[in-house]
């Protein structure tokens, strides 16, 4: 049988895989199926739960390689890389995929160097052409798309969240679980502390299905409260443009754009955002884009599916009311 399509598991640090793994496993299964191969999960963690393993199976992993050891948390590239590279050396996977998260981006790059493999980062689509994988990824602030091909296997890629179709869960599927013996490499980095950000009670920006975002048009930090009201009703994350972040209205972690986070939600609602190229770079692959702006000439209207030319201070609270009415039904 052809080499497996590996999916590196991103988890919630509590023993459960993150929802984005349904997308990664779904895509890996689809591609593997075309090649008569199977999708497998590789889970490096200090704690895996039976429910988490079952979940991976239901999302399409035929096998779960469980690399479980207390030394694997916190994540450090120098500890994870040799362990996964050794397993890859023995198992010769055809492909290795991972979702785009801060640590997977770093880990996959380091692993690619160790394996001498090619890595297509932040890919947004994948196809098989003549039996070989071709990945598409946005480049130049999302102004162009670049099609990538590999000269050798494993084909390595990180996948942008919210872009690939999630697997249809196969209830009751139970994966083969393998627990290879691991030699834990020496660690160089020592964790001093973790600083959790105060929870906003709203979803993480890059994982959210709906994102409400504010720009210069909000006129001041206090007015983000208007967007938070709307976000609470929608279960959305709140983001900001570079202008709003540079003005000090929101911390940098909320910035959407080329020098911030790249998001791809089902629904993006931009308030008082003009749509500079550097902002579009971070949200252009959103499925439905809505813009509310006073200026009818704002560039964001060029890529918006729906727009309202108007005063956000009037429109946003009205939208909050309307969504509330709709969702309470």
């Amino acid at each position: 049988m052809a080499g497996a399509y590996w999916c590196m598991v991103e988890d919630d640090r509590q023993g459960a895989p993150k929802k984005v793994m349904a997308e990664v496993l779904g895509e890996a299964s689809r591609l593997a199926g075309q090649a008569g191969a199977e999708a497998e999960a590789v889970w490096v963690t200090d704690k895996a739960t039976p429910e988490g393993i079952k979940q991976l199976g239901e999302w399409g992993a035929k096998r779960v390689w469980l690399l479980e050891n207390a030394a694997f948390a916190p994540y450090r590239a120098e500890v994870w890389t040799p362990v996964v590279a050794d397993l890859a050396g023995k198992e010769s996977p055809q492909a290795i995929f991972a979702p785009v998260t801060t640590r997977q981006r770093e880990f996959m790059a380091r692993l690619a160097a160790r394996l001498g493999a090619g890595l297509s980062a932040d890919s947004t689509s994948m196809t098989m052409e003549g039996g070989k994988l071709v990945a598409t990824r946005p480049v130049y602030a999302g102004k162009l798309l670049s099609k990538m091909a590999w000269a050798k296997t494993p084909w390595m890629a990180t996948l942008r969240p919210n872009v690939f179709r999630p697997a249809d869960p196969q209830a009751g599927a139970s994966p083969d679980v393998q627990k290879p013996a691991v030699t834990v490499p020496a660690e160089a980095m020592k964790l001093v502390e973790r600083r959790q950000e105060a929870s906003t009670g709203l979803p993480e920006l890059t994982e959210a299905e709906i994102v409400v975002s504010g720009g210069r048009g909000l006129k001041g930090p206090e007015n983000f409260a208007i967007l938070e009201e709307l976000a609470k009703v929608l279960g959305a994350a709140v983001g900001a443009s570079r202008a709003a972040v540079d003005a000090g209205w929101r911390p940098h972690r909320f910035q959407i754009g080329q020098t911030g986070r790249t998001i791809s939600p089902k629904l993006y609602l931009g308030f008082g955002i003009s749509g500079a190229i550097q902002h579009l770079a971070g949200m252009r692959t959103s499925k439905v884009i809505c813009a509310i702006n006073k200026d009818p000439e704002a560039p964001i209207f060029k890529i918006a599916d729906y727009g309202i030319v108007g005063d956000l201070f009037e429109v946003a609270p009205l939208l909050t009311q309307e969504f509330k009415r709709l969702l309470e039904k």
């Binding site: 160097a113 130049y140 162009l144 670049s146 000269a151 940098h252 499925k287 599916d305 309202i308 108007g310």
Partner: protein, 259 residues
């Protein structure tokens, strides 16, 4: 303490990019080139570490064609002491791994205590080279750092790496690789004196053979660049705010099925 900062020259974000004749690269005519913004954070951080310690050397390194010298010159104008320019036809089709091998070879030769990178270059947004260099050197790596402090002996660096939902603070032994995230600092503008002084600073050209490397085919390559598929034309919802809001919510639910 010696610090190497790896930088890349990229098109300015606002520049229009067009697909070039070969269909795999961009048409470079008329492009405004800049130092990739994340790399500027890295240069600034290197200068601050040196200034804080009261001694040291900051070396800017870039792999690229002749024009990459302008980017290196900007770093010298900011305050870097000297520059290394990796320039060779062997690197024309370099993928991240080829680039990482070249940079790692220079870093090995220069033997700095710290190798600083930007989180990613804003042209291809690959964001892989820093971690790959770390692997090739066998050094630890911390990506997306928001803060750092080198200890008095210059033996370890404490870094705050950004992860989803917070910061993780680590102690790393030097030498190490770190990559800068926005928010680490506010890069300085070169002063007139800095710009004048930069003209006299050394930019050493290095070819592949100088660091013991030969041309090798990339493991990952661009097959084709494509324009974005056009988005279907949008709809501006007219009317009084209350009616428009109502209609937008209806359209999102019933037409777009986004809610």
């Amino acid at each position: 303490m010696k610090i190497l900062v790896m930088i890349k020259q990229v098109p300015d974000t606002a520049t229009q990019v067009k697909i070039g004749g070969d269909g795999r690269g961009i048409d470079t005519a008329g492009i405004t080139w800049i130092v990739s913004p994340y790399d500027e954070f890295a240069v600034e951080e290197a200068l601050r570490i040196k200034e804080k310690r009261g001694q040291g050397e900051v070396v800017a390194v870039s792999l690229g064609p002749e024009r990459a010298k302008e980017a290196l010159r900007s770093c010298l104008a900011m305050g870097a002491d000297r520059a290394v320019h990796l320039k060779d036809p062997a690197w024309d089709a370099a993928d991240t791994l080829t680039t990482a091998r070249a940079l790692a070879a220079v870093i090995k030769q220069e033997a700095p205590a710290l190798a600083l990178f930007g989180r990613q270059a804003i042209d291809d947004d690959m964001g892989a080279v820093a971690a790959q260099v770390a692997e090739l050197l066998g050094w630890p790596v911390a990506s997306w750092i928001m803060e750092d402090a080198v200890d008095a002996d210059g033996k370890t660096i404490r870094v705050g790496r950004q992860v989803e939902g917070g910061l993780e603070i680590f102690d790393m032994p030097l030498p190490a690789v770190v990559s800068a995230q926005k928010g680490l600092n506010e890069p300085r503008y070169p002063t007139l004196k800095g710009i004048m002084g930069a003209k006299k600073k050394e930019i050493k050209e290095v070819k592949a053979a100088d660091i013991g490397l030969a041309a090798e085919p990339p493991v990952l390559s661009v097959v084709k660049l494509e324009s974005l598929p056009p988005r279907p034309p949008g709809r501006i919802i007219q009317g009084e705010p209350a009616a428009a809001a109502k209609e937008l919510v209806r359209a999102l639910r019933e037409d777009a099925k986004a809610i």
